[in-house]
């Protein structure tokens, strides 16, 4: 199992790392038992994700995929941002080892989870817009529910 140079770059120098004060939406997916937790903070202005930050507990791929995902959604309007799939995140990182694919799914879900919080705070029902989020927070789902 080896990581691409891009994965190593995003792991070693993660972009958009940290927290956002007065975030418009905060989402968290994953759980400690499974070994990865991603927390995303977003700022939304006129339907555009104007800023995004993250904190991640997890392996190299978990940190790299969160970093790449934040970079890909930053500055995009929500509709475009929702089109970014885990596959797109993986491709942008020049691929992931098969056992790490679930990290990219988690990164996609983390963005959605932050948007979910944003819509709820706006009094808008997120379900028709975002669909169901797999957040691994339920122990019953097991660690690979997203794959």
């Amino acid at each position: 199992m080896t990581y691409s140079d891009k994965v190593m770059d995003h792991f070693s120098n993660p972009r958009n790392i940290g927290e956002l004060k007065n975030a418009d939406g905060i989402g968290e997916v994953g759980n400690a038992k499974c070994g990865d937790i991603m927390k995303m903070y977003i700022k939304v202005k006129n339907d555009v994700i104007s800023d995004v930050k993250f904190k991640t507990f997890g392996c190299g791929a978990a940190i790299a995929t969160s970093s790449m995902a934040t970079e890909m959604v930053k500055g995009k309007n929500i509709k475009e941002a929702l089109k970014i799939t885990n596959k797109a995140v993986m491709e942008a990182l020049d691929g992931l080892p098969p056992v790490k694919v679930h990290c990219s799914v988690l990164a996609e879900q983390a963005i959605k989870s932050a948007l979910w919080d944003y819509y709820e705070k706006q009094g808008i029902d997120p379900l028709p817009i975002l669909g169901k989020i797999c957040n691994q927070n339920s122990e019953h789902d097991g660690c690979s529910c997203c794959t």
Partner: protein, 396 residues
């Protein structure tokens, strides 16, 4: 990156100059097949037999009780398969093992299980040590074999081998021990310990990869491993790995000759490393502190994940390993850490540093300099750490 601090000696070790130089003539000058009659063959044969004697000498065994294999995994597979299937003919299909054996033991036990064997796995408790009374209670009239590792490969805990050997002798049960991590680190006398079979490997002792041995006590009935020529008394056919065998014997002798001074040096470095690393808050040592291999440090750091810790250490030139899920290629952390009762979330943050006599006090200082910085860096970006310090989740 100019300097590498190699602290993964339980995974493998560099071949020492002494070993390498002793091997070279058997690749170039004495390349003859040890079974051939001419001089370069006879020389090779002589060296193989001298090596066998030397290996036997280090273990308190006889030279005709030493069988060379391709390594520790082969020796473990052979011992369990060869004893198990032989005794199954007498209706003995029960085997006792510890819960945290190496995969080369656990996975062959799974194969036997599919063939109708029953396996009892002994609890290793939080200390990472089996209890002899549990072994006694597990013994049945149909018990064919007890297989318990000498020292654990991940957490380094040493098992009560003398007591296990005595119990097995008392009940006339064959006792195999996977001593891959122990040989060369702990003085071993197979006769006084009542060991019937013992697996060892060269590359954990500054020897070459691809060579190991199985000690089989004289008179122990075991099925052949490889059919073919008459090598290894017909039990394990195949042209001998002459240079490897020489390398194994030189490496083992060197380790056994210097065992006292090296144990002393290694234990001092290990203890400084443990004490230093334990200064990091929310950290803990895995397994018993006293009964552990002289070079083994296995710890958990709450709130971070082992693989990212390894990658950060690697970037600083430090080679280490982890039992986290992410490094095991599965979604579960190592069976060893789970066997000593660690919850998944803690086991994910494990780190193993294993020293050899080629390490220095400077290496230890360098690791202790880097480790707290890396742990802090990863905790600073960890939402789990945030929960731990805000007491939102239980820490350990």
């Amino acid at each position: 990156m100019s300097h590498i601090v190699y602290a993964d000696n339980a995974a493998t070790t560099p071949v020492s100059d002494l070993v390498l130089n002793s091997m070279l003539p058997y690749h170039s000058n004495f390349y003859g097949n040890p079974s051939s009659l001419y001089k370069i063959g006879r020389e090779a044969k002589k060296a193989v037999e001298q090596s066998r004697e030397q290996v036997a000498g280090c273990l308190g065994a006889l030279s005709n009780e030493i069988f060379f294999t391709s390594g520790g995994s082969e020796a473990n597979n052979w011992a369990i398969r060869g004893i198990g299937y032989n005794l199954a003919k007498q209706g003995k299909k029960h085997i006792i093992a510890s819960a945290f054996e190496h995969h080369s033991v656990l996975n062959i036990l799974d194969v036997l299980k599919k063939d109708g064997f029953e396996i009892t796995y002994l609890n290793v408790y939080k200390e990472g040590i089996i209890r002899p009374e549990d072994l006694k209670n597990a013994i049945r009239p149909d018990t064919a074999l007890v297989t318990i590792m000498y020292a654990n490969n991940e957490i380094g805990t040493i098992q009560p081998i003398q007591e296990i050997g005595n119990i097995c002798k008392e009940y006339s049960i064959i006792f195999h021990t996977d001593a891959v991590q122990a040989v060369g680190n702990i003085p071993i006398d197979v006769k006084s310990l009542n060991i019937d079979l013992l697996s060892l490997s060269a590359h954990k002792l500054h020897g070459p990869k691809g060579i190991g041995a199985l000690y089989i006590k004289k008179g122990t009935k075991i099925l052949n491993l490889i059919e073919g020529g008459a090598q290894e008394r017909g039990k394990r056919a195949g042209t001998e790995n002459t240079a490897g065998i020489i390398g194994l014997s030189i490496a083992l002798k060197d380790a056994c000759d210097h065992i006292k001074e090296r144990t002393k040096k290694l234990s001092l470095m290990r203890d400084r490393l443990i004490d230093g690393a334990l200064k990091i808050e929310y950290s803990s040592l895995n397994g018993d502190r006293k009964n552990r291999l002289p070079g083994n440090v296995s710890m958990c750091f709450n709130g971070i994940e082992g693989e990212s810790l390894l990658l950060k250490l690697d970037a600083m030139g430090i080679c280490a390993s982890s039992g986290s899920a992410c490094t095991s290629g599965s979604l579960d952390p190592s069976h060893v850490l789970l066997a000593i009762g660690l919850p998944h979330e803690v086991a994910h943050g494990s780190l193993r540093l294993t020293l050899s006599d080629q390490n220095t006090e400077e290496d230890v200082s360098y690791i202790l300099e880097c480790l707290p910085l890396i742990v802090k860096e990863l905790r600073d970006i960890s939402p789990l750490w945030e929960k731990i310090i805000n007491k939102k989740v239980k820490s350990f």
